[in-house]
Amino acid sequence: MVKIHGHVSQLLGAIGVDILDKSGFNAIELKLNNRFIYALRRLPANVVDERNFRIIRAMQLSMQKIYLPKEEWLTFEQDDYYLKPYLEEVEREFKEREEWRKT
């Protein structure tokens, strides 16, 4: 079951659910009001570049069905929560909008 987020569905109610089903988003488990995307947009440029590199390298390795050499493995210290502060801020902003919508 897919949770319906977003103002679109709340405005349209049952019709919104119907449109959402037809648009195919829930078929591949994507959310419309994606805080993740908002937070990703805010990453500084160097973090974005590193992330893209890691993703592309991972896809390459997956296609070749090999692993990285042991010396290039990511250590525990390097595995940081780079998106966390931005996600938290986006979450706070969404909450603020919700608060104001209620009053």
Partner: protein, 447 residues
């Protein structure tokens, strides 16, 4: 009439929803009480709190305005940070340490207040207007916006299109004004109020923060429509570190001729000589009078401009061409000159005659009296508008000494025609041309 050119941004404005429904109109109960008696405006009060000068006038009216002005205008930019004040003005109202942009907007709107930012060559100011009973609940937002902005990188980059829009809707007169300053002063005062095109998008968050940290050191707080104690109380909550370093002295460089050719039927020409600075208020007033005596536009829509010295340059009162005076006084220099807008085939004659007038005009007592009438009207009209009063008090508190209207008018009266003649005596010309430059004589041809 403002003493210096500036550009204004209204950051957050309350939306007034008015419904003209017949039933609602009928339901309004008309009160039979007499209207509240008119209470005159009180006197101007000034004081100093820490690193802040406070000036306030209790207008006894329904609207209160509170403003913070910093001596941090476009003249304090550097070659590598040109346009940072433009971006600062655009970014007024974005996220601060204490509130998000969304929260700030909604809270200010909830109080029915307006938050705006005005930037000039020597100052940048943030103003909040609200009803009397609401002003104390929104002044914390003013403090936040003025002193505590965070300049989140994505918010700044999201607002670059607004800077681009402002640049693209500049009228030719504004572009000419920027050009004549660049011709006359090169750097410092010559930097434009608008960001140069090549800098748009290059004002990073760190650049904005650095400019604020280095230049928002001393302030003038102005309160209009509130008791002086309230303005002083607000000023005492600001923690300004002071130590504003003096700006590099403005150097007037005559002989420059800046031209920007565009596809236009008209030619816009500005000719200027160095004018007095605000350090001598009497001389600055004389410059403003010279401006009015040289020429002012018509006050009536589609009307004819009043007779003035430049009317002889135009020949008969031709509506197809215009020549008016302009003046700008800054803390250590100024400009006085002529603005011409004319079709290409007439601009040559008009420019030559205007240059002669600018170099050798002699004002009679009659010219002086007429100019005084116009200037006094301008000062009084600006004093009447809430925002105009705030700006006058703030800029004067930063750069000079604010005077009540009666003293401003007395200062105008004290200037003589000889003082006005001294303003224009022997000045060397600078020139800026915009539009159809084909027929405009060069500066070295204007002998």
């Amino acid at each position: 009439m403002a003493l210096q050119p500036y550009a204004r941004n209204v950051a957050l404005q309350s939306k007034q929803h008015v419904r003209y429904l017949a039933s609602a109109a009928a339901a309004i109960k008309r009160s039979n009480e007499p209207p509240a008696p008119f209470v005159a405006r009180e006197t101007l009060k000034t004081s100093k709190v820490g690193n802040t000068t406070v000036a306030s006038i209790e207008t006894n009216q329904a609207i209160s305005r509170l403003a913070i002005y910093f001596r941090a205008g476009s003249r304090f930019e550097t070659d590598q940070t040109q346009g940072v004040v433009h971006m600062l003005r655009i970014c007024a109202g974005l996220g601060t340490g204490g509130a998000s942009h969304f929260g700030l907007t909604r809270n200010v709107e909830l109080a029915g207040a307006n938050l705006s930012c005005t930037a000039g060559r020597e100052f940048i100011g943030y103003t909040i207007d609200a009803a009397r009973d609401k002003i104390s609940s929104v002044d914390k937002f003013l403090q936040d916006v003025a002193m505590n902005q965070v300049f989140k990188p994505w918010e700044v980059s999201d607002n670059v299109p607004r800077a681009r829009l402002e640049r693209s809707i500049r009228p030719p007169e504004a572009r000419l004004m920027e050009q004549i300053h660049k011709a006359a002063f090169r750097k410092g005062l010559g930097y434009s109020l608008y960001s140069p095109k090549w800098m748009l998008g290059n004002h990073k968050s760190e650049m904005l923060s650095k400019f604020v940290k280095e230049n928002f050191l001393e302030a003038a707080v102005v309160g209009v429509g509130m008791p002086h104690e309230q303005a002083v109380d607000f000023a005492s909550r600001l923690n300004l570190s002071g130590g504003q370093k003096a700006s590099t002295l403005a150097k007037y460089n005559p002989g420059a001729d800046l031209r920007k050719e565009t596809n236009d039927r008209l030619a816009y020409v500005a000719l200027a000589v160095q004018g007095p600075s605000l350090s001598d208020p009497k001389k600055a007033t004389a410059a403003a009078l010279v401006h009015r005596a040289l020429g002012t536009p018509s006050r009536v829509c589609h009307g004819l401009a009043p007779n003035s010295k430049l009317t002889t340059a135009l020949g008969d009162n031709d509506v197809k061409a215009a020549a008016v005076g302009f003046s700008a006084s800054y803390s250590d220099s100024g400009l006085v000159g002529v603005y011409i807008a004319a079709p290409a085939k007439r601009v040559d004659a008009i420019t030559r005659k205007s240059a002669d007038i600018l170099r050798s005009a002699k004002f009679s007592a009659q010219d002086a009296t007429r100019a005084k009438g116009i200037l006094k009207g301008d000062l009084a009209l600006e004093d009447e508008t809430g925002q105009g009063l705030v700006e006058y008090l703030a800029v004067q508190s930063l750069l000079g000494k604010p005077l009540p209207l009666s003293e401003q008018l007395a200062l105008v009266d004290s200037v003589t025609a000889e003082d006005m003649n001294a303003v224009l005596s022997g000045g060397k010309l600078s020139m800026a041309v915009f539009g159809n430059v084909s027929n405009v004589p060069y500066l070295d041809e204007l002998k």
